[in-house]
């Protein structure tokens, strides 16, 4: 990574920014370096204008995003699960951008119509409620809101049953004699309509009785007039509103056809936004500007050349220093590149780390494929990933994941042959035991201990790779003592433990002897030098002895790799269960049908769950067991100023 400073003429600023964006090779950073004091820039006069630009762009983005979302709602275009970006020719892009006002107007119209529809819908709901309440009263000429005569007040309402009416009437009469309940006799309703009448002077004592009783008064607060009229009004309004909604919706559908334009303007706005925000990092003087940024070393020269050929600028670059905390751009072989997302999900490497991906990738591949270890599943998974990568052309982290799972599934086919796994034991099940899939190495179900030993062995190699990387980092930073006393001592001791255990098993007692001496050497170094920062010799030895306790963490790390065996067994055995279930009815006509149905569903389910499990547990082995040995992370990925589009891809022809 190089740090660059560019000084240019204020007039060229816009065009230089545009070229930088097109080059996509520079990450701008805020100009803070004024150590020489020679440059005292004035307060940037443009700051208000700048923030206005940012505001305009972000506002436009928001509006277009809403418009795109609304369009999707109105315009039920079947979207593929993994949509690729829309291709737009640059001419088309320019036309749409030049008619930006038009598009904005459409977006606003869509937004307004949609909120209007919501308002109308609420009004319809309200009117329906009123109409429902009023419907039984349409044949009664009763004025709502202001009913009764000079001295008598009338309250229409309903009771559940005739008994309720009697009870209510008694209650009413006992407190106020000048009142009555008139029951409107009609039989086709499930409730009883009644009108309570009382002298207005008694209102004070009557109203609490009404409120506390089972009588439910008819109350429509928003309107007054005859019940029949209000009812008709409501029904007409509902009809009217519904028509309006229909109109608006069809208009919205029409507008929604323009979703592509909204997407184009969204991307246009997002580019504008990036440009405006990055401008705030640039220092301006009256006639010049200065910008500072990060650029990958191998691009420095070409960017300088490209800019110099067009503009009058001063261009200065220097190598980034560790204390700069510069952003990170990883450079990896195309086969290793996809694994960067695995590391990035943990945390991108910092300036002090070394890129763990080249060391991690082969182990990731190995563990993932061992856990899956089925030729049939591998084939299907590989085909699925290939479809994603080359047919649907997914991009970004999705592509990376598909890529490393593709590699893993190809390797899983190899392991399938080694372990004799093809959709579990499908061949054996189908031929009722006459044939079986070739097992080149051994079958983990028959000899799980063997696979367990190999899992731990591969795991220990993985751990050693991590420890050696740590040693390498220590050595290049000049701490060779730490490397020898803290890392190599453990590698020797742990190898010794391995030989001590493995020697007798392999009938090679010599190995056990060698192992014994390695353990003694390793532990000796740890005890003698583990506490070397302590001055007191007794304390130092004690600290060293306590350091031996780390053996537990190494042992638990190594045993953690037995999950390879467990997951590989899980995949194989569930596959067997599926085959067994499928062949319950034998292999007659119905039997075969059952086998196909059960096989399809069962194996797909097993494949999905196993793949998820393999990915998750392989990642865990990297994050917890491997990275803990040497990797810090906490870096920041290099994010250059470039043309970033969300929806569209501009093609030049």
């Amino acid at each position: 990574m190089d740090k660059i400073h560019i000084v240019g003429l204020a007039n060229d600023k816009e065009t230089i920014m545009d070229s930088l964006m097109k080059l996509g090779a520079v990450e701008l950073s805020e100009v803070t370096d004024r150590s020489d004091g020679s440059m005292e820039p004035e307060e940037p006069q443009e700051s208000t204008e700048l923030s206005a630009n940012v505001k305009y762009a972000s506002d436009l983005m928001l509006r277009m995003k809403n418009a795109v979302e609304l369009s999707d709602k109105y315009h039920h275009e079947k979207k593929p699960m993994f949509s690729s970006m829309r291709k737009v020719s640059s001419d088309n892009f320019m036309t749409v951008v030049s008619s930006i006002d038009d598009v904005e107007a459409k977006a606003d119209e869509l937004q307004n119509h949609t909120s209007e529809i919501t308002v109308l819908n609420t009004r319809i709901m309200k009117n329906i409620l009123i109409a429902e309440q009023l419907k039984p009263w349409t044949d009664v000429e009763i004025k709502l809101g202001d009913s009764g005569t000079e001295f008598v007040d009338m309250v229409p309402g309903t009771f559940e049953s005739i008994d309720e009416v009697e009870l209510f009437r008694d209650a009413l009469r006992s407190s106020a004699s000048e009142s009555d309940v008139i029951v409107l006799h009609d039989n086709d309703l499930s409730f009883i309509r009644a009108i309570v009448i009382y002298h207005r002077d008694l209102a004070e004592s009557i109203i609490p009785i009404i409120k506390g009783s089972v009588f439910r008064p008819l109350s429509i607060s928003s309107r007054s007039g005859y019940s029949g009229d209000i009812y008709d009004e409501c029904v007409a309004e509902i009809e009217n509103d519904r028509n309006k909604i229909r109109e608006l919706t069809s208009r919205c559908r029409e507008i929604a056809e323009n979703v592509q334009e909204f997407e184009i303007i969204y991307d246009h706005a997002s580019v504008l936004f990036d440009k405006s925000t990055s401008q705030s990092m640039i220092l301006d003087t009256d006639y010049t500007f200065i910008l500072q940024g990060w650029i990958p070393s191998h691009l420095t020269e070409s960017v300088e050349k490209a800019l110099r050929s067009e503009f009058i600028i001063a261009f200065q670059s220097r190598k980034a220093k560790t204390e700069d905390e510069y952003p990170i751009l990883l450079k990896n072989h195309p086969l290793v590149k996809p694994y960067e997302v695995v590391t990035d999900m943990f945390s991108p490497p910092s300036v002090r780390d070394i890129d763990p991906n080249p060391i991690m990738a082969p182990f990731f591949l190995l563990f993932f494929s061992m856990m899956l270890s089925d030729a049939g599943y591998g084939l299907i998974l590989a085909a699925g990933c290939a479809l994603l990568i080359w047919k649907l052309k997914v991009t970004g982290s999705m592509r990376s994941m598909a890529m490393f799972i593709f590699q893993g599934s190809l390797a899983a086919i190899v392991w399938g042959f080694l372990f004799g796994g093809f959709f579990g034991d499908m061949i054996t099940a189908l031929s009722s035991g006459r044939f079986s899939f070739p097992t080149i190495w051994f079958n983990p179900i028959e000899d799980p201990t063997r696979l367990m030993i190999w899992s731990v062995l591969f795991g220990v190699l993985h751990l050693f790779a991590g420890m050696l990387t740590k040693a390498y980092i220590l050595i290049i930073t000049g701490k060779w003592k730490d490397a020898v006393f803290d890392v190599f001592s453990w590698i020797i001791a742990l190898t010794g433990v391995g030989l001590l255990l493995g020697g007798p098993a392999l009938n090679l007692p010599v190995l056990a002897d060698i192992g014994k001496y390695m353990v003694i050497t390793g532990f000796g170094v740890i005890v003698l030098f583990g506490g070397r920062d302590s001055g007191n010799p007794v304390l130092r030895i004690l600290k060293g002895i306590i350091g031996l306790y780390d053996i537990t963490s190494y042992v638990s790390d190594a045993l953690s790799y037995t999950r390879i065996l467990a997951l590989s067994l899980a995949t194989a055995v569930i596959g067997m269960v599926v085959n067994k279930l499928g062949s319950i009815l034998g292999f007659g006509f119905t039997g075969i049908i059952l086998f196909i149905v059960v096989g399809l569903v069962g194996h797909m389910l097993n494949l999905a769950i196993s793949t998820l499990g393999c990915y998750v547990h392989t990642s865990r082995l990297q994050y917890v067991e491997f990275f803990s040995k040497f990797y810090e992370g906490g870096g920041r990925a290099w994010d250059p100023l470039s043309v970033k589009m969300k929806y569209i891809k501009i093609s030049n022809n």
């Binding site: 999950r563 997951l567 569930i574 769950i609």
Partner: protein
């Protein structure tokens, strides 16, 4: 004496092995059901705020489901090793029946609890994803940490089952 004989009749080798196998599948299954259910409730909350996160939370919801599968796997191993699937069942002695039962204990117990606790971690992961969808992997890895012990229990169960030689 009759009572003992009756007991011997009821608790033959195959029966004890069946009880173990059934409990392994059942307990781990109940645990997974609880775990998946727990995450499902949290996930529905997340989806109600933002339906586009469905795919992500569904992934989290699937995680505590593995213990149930491990239970089924153990059940199958018992059935297979005991010769119950090939009609060789009568060869299982009472002692071997108890051996199968003991072998089922780790996944029976650990499967249940780890599924439940993994469900809790996944549910918390759901709220993590609600706020920071880009941190899905971290939520998954945290949840997978709990599953480790179910895997170890499964290994203990399976290796023990495979060490029992019937016939």
């Amino acid at each position: 004496m009759e009572f003992v004989q009756a007991l011997e009749k009821i608790f033959t080798g195959p029966v004890i092995a069946f009880i173990g196998a059934a409990l392994a599948a059942a307990m781990a299954g109940i645990g997974s059901a609880r775990g998946v259910g727990l995450v499902g409730e949290a996930a529905a909350g997340v989806v109600s705020e933002d339906p586009s996160k469905f795919g992500k939370v569904l992934l989290l919801q699937a995680l505590p489901g593995t213990q149930g599968i491990y239970g089924l796997l153990t059940w199958f191993m018992v059935m297979n090793q005991g010769g119950f699937l090939s009609g060789n069942a009568s060869a299982v002695t009472t002692a071997q029946g108890w051996q199968f039962f003991a072998a089922c204990l780790p996944i029976m117990i650990v499967g249940y609890y780890s599924a439940y606790y993994q469900g809790r971690v996944s549910a918390a992961g759901g709220s993590l994803v609600a706020k920071r969808p880009e941190e899905l992997t971290k939520a998954i890895v945290m949840s997978a940490m709990v599953e480790t012990y179910a895997i170890l229990a499964l290994l203990a169960s399976v290796l023990t089952i495979l060490s029992i030689k019937v016939g």
